[in-house]
């Protein structure tokens, strides 16, 4: 595999993992069958912990530590040996475990299309619609300046 092929594979997986991180527990649970969930074994027990969130001085300079955020993570192995990992903001370790299963299924070329269709696409569509609505609501509060001309020239 060429370097750019690896990069595009990583980029695609990051995009899918972003959807798994943003998916609701209900969206995750509806995306695959109970047998798949039952067949998954923990590589590392799902757990809640912290990530130190960093900012940049002045928005673009050197990094500094802003504060921590709770994060749930999980690593699993499916019955067929495929491994998956997940990190999500918050403390929902059950959702993180389901996200790790989704990550494992996504990596299998045979099952990727179904995960893309059942989970990644709907979550991305939901986020895009929410972002669009939020952005248009904000845009409605944008100030349109106009100039008052007083007196005669």
């Amino acid at each position: 595999m060429t370097g750019s092929a690896i990069d595009s594979e990583t980029a695609a997986r990051r995009r899918a993992m972003a959807a798994f991180a943003a998916a609701t527990p209900a969206e995750l649970a509806a995306a695959f069958d109970a047998d798949t969930i039952a067949g998954a074994r923990d590589l590392r027990p799902a757990e809640a912990g912290l990530v130190m969130v960093r900012g940049r001085i002045g928005g673009g300079g050197s990094a500094f530590n802003l504060g921590e955020a709770t994060v749930a993570r999980a690593s699993i192995r499916l019955a067929d040996g495929q491994t998956g990992h997940a990190y999500r903001l918050g403390r929902d370790v059950a959702a993180a475990r389901l996200a790790a299963i989704a990550d494992a299924l996504w990596q299998d070329p045979a099952r990727r299309p179904s995960i893309e269709a059942a989970l990644v696409a709907p979550v991305e569509a939901r986020l895009a619609a929410a972002d669009d609505a939020a952005s248009r609501r904000a845009a409605a509060t944008r100030v349109d300046f106009f100039t008052m001309v007083r007196g005669e020239d």
Binding site: M17, A21, G55, G61, N65, L89, F145
Partner: protein
């Protein structure tokens, strides 16, 4: 000798039962749920997350309920909770330039790319009590523009392009972490910003205000305030790449401050920076003012005002530390006080004796004894502090 006095257990247990009862309030009124606090008292939740230094709206909401709305107590609870969790790592620095903004205003440019976006602000409200809120309300659906917002680059980038403002170079150094290493002075700007980001809003507001009133003036303009959501990613060792975690709401303020120049650098504006979790505009603005004031010495400016003194600011900005030391005064100091009481009585006896001597009727007293008592009192104070 150290004598432990026991006997408060029953009183403490009953006090906590009474606290739980009072916290619940009138049982005829519906109990408040954390979801209601997180959803409707969002700015209180944001403050608890920022000063608790832990982004988790659900935990912050429970803490506010547990603390009966005492936000510093809630912040204390969040700080304590944080210590029970392992740290997985540190995020990639968030890209605030790519923020999905809900509010973005600049006091320096009227017409700027992305525009002036007011968002959900208290500004321009009349600050009259809205008695409609005494009942249940159904607010009108928000207006929606036909098109989403245009991209909104940082305002300072506009000045930066002309070299009119100092740049903030990325030194690619690992930032200090005051939750891992005790703060030592002088502290770098990375550590100062971390301390300010988790610092008390009221303290920062007062210090920022003091700079405006002349105690370390910086001639600040609000170059930009932006509130919105940023993506967070963490590098995962097991994967070998940065994994997206989700989004956080943050507030950023960039102050554009008085300019300076030197023999080698032409005059240019300087910068103060504020960044907080949540929607905390007052905090972010205050933080940016204080950040700039704390740079006075580095920029070769006159110093001496409280907001410019990093040891003063950073040692007192943390409200959990501050409340711990102030509130410890209410805990039993019976032994210390008895020692002081003995000391005062002794000093009064000595003064009376000296007076008597001055009157020419008695011989000199023994001042060394008073010193011994003072030493004993100091020792007891130290024991109590430990």
């Amino acid at each position: 000798m150290y004598v432990a006095v026991k006997g408060g257990e029953r009183a403490i247990d009953n006090a906590h039962r009474l606290l739980a009862h009072e916290r619940r309030g009138d049982p005829a009124i519906a109990e408040i749920a954390p979801e209601q606090i997180a959803g409707q008292l969002t700015l209180a939740v944001d403050r608890v997350m920022a000063e608790g230094s832990l982004y988790d709206p659900e935990i912050a909401a429970i803490a506010i309920k547990q603390a009966r709305g005492d936000l510093i107590e809630a912040i204390f609870l969040v700080r304590a909770y944080r210590t029970t969790l392992p740290r997985f790592g540190c995020s990639q620095p968030v890209d605030t330039g790519a923020m999905q903004v809900v509010r973005r205003v600049s006091a320096t440019y009227k017409d700027l790319p992305g525009g002036q976006v007011l968002g959900p602000t208290f500004d321009y409200t009349h600050r009259l009590i809205d008695f409609d809120l005494a009942g249940t309300t159904t607010p009108a659906a928000p207006a929606e523009a036909a098109a989403p917002l245009d991209p909104a680059p940082h305002v300072t980038a506009l000045l930066d392009g002309e070299g009119l403002i100092e740049s903030n170079p990325d030194r690619a150094a690992e930032p200090g972490d005051l939750t891992r290493e005790p703060l030592a002075f002088p502290a770098g700007r990375d550590l100062r910003l971390q301390a300010l980001a988790r610092g008390d809003e009221g303290f920062l507001l007062a210090l920022g205000y003091s700079t405006q009133r002349g105690y370390g003036r910086t001639h600040a303009f609000a170059g930009e305030i932006r509130i919105g959501d940023v993506e967070v990613e963490v590098f995962a060792e097991e994967l070998g790449f940065a994994v997206p975690l989700g989004r956080l709401r943050v507030t950023e303020c960039e102050m554009v401050n008085q300019f300076k120049g030197s023999a080698t650098v032409p005059p240019q504006f300087t910068r103060g920076y504020g960044l907080t979790f949540g929607q905390l505009e007052r905090k972010a603005m205050s933080m940016a003012l204080v950040d700039r004031a704390l740079r006075a010495e580095d920029l070769g400016e006159e110093t001496g005002s409280p907001a410019q003194d990093q040891e003063f600011v950073l040692s007192h900005v943390d409200n959990v530390q501050a409340t711990g030391f102030v509130e410890h005064l209410k805990l039993p100091h019976y032994v210390d006080f008895q020692a002081e009481l003995g000391l005062v009585r002794q000093m009064r006896r000595e003064q009376a004796a000296a007076q008597t001597e001055a009157d020419g009727r008695a011989e000199a007293d023994k001042p060394a004894e008073a010193d011994d008592l003072a030493a004993t009192a100091a020792t007891l104070d130290r024991e109590a502090a430990e």
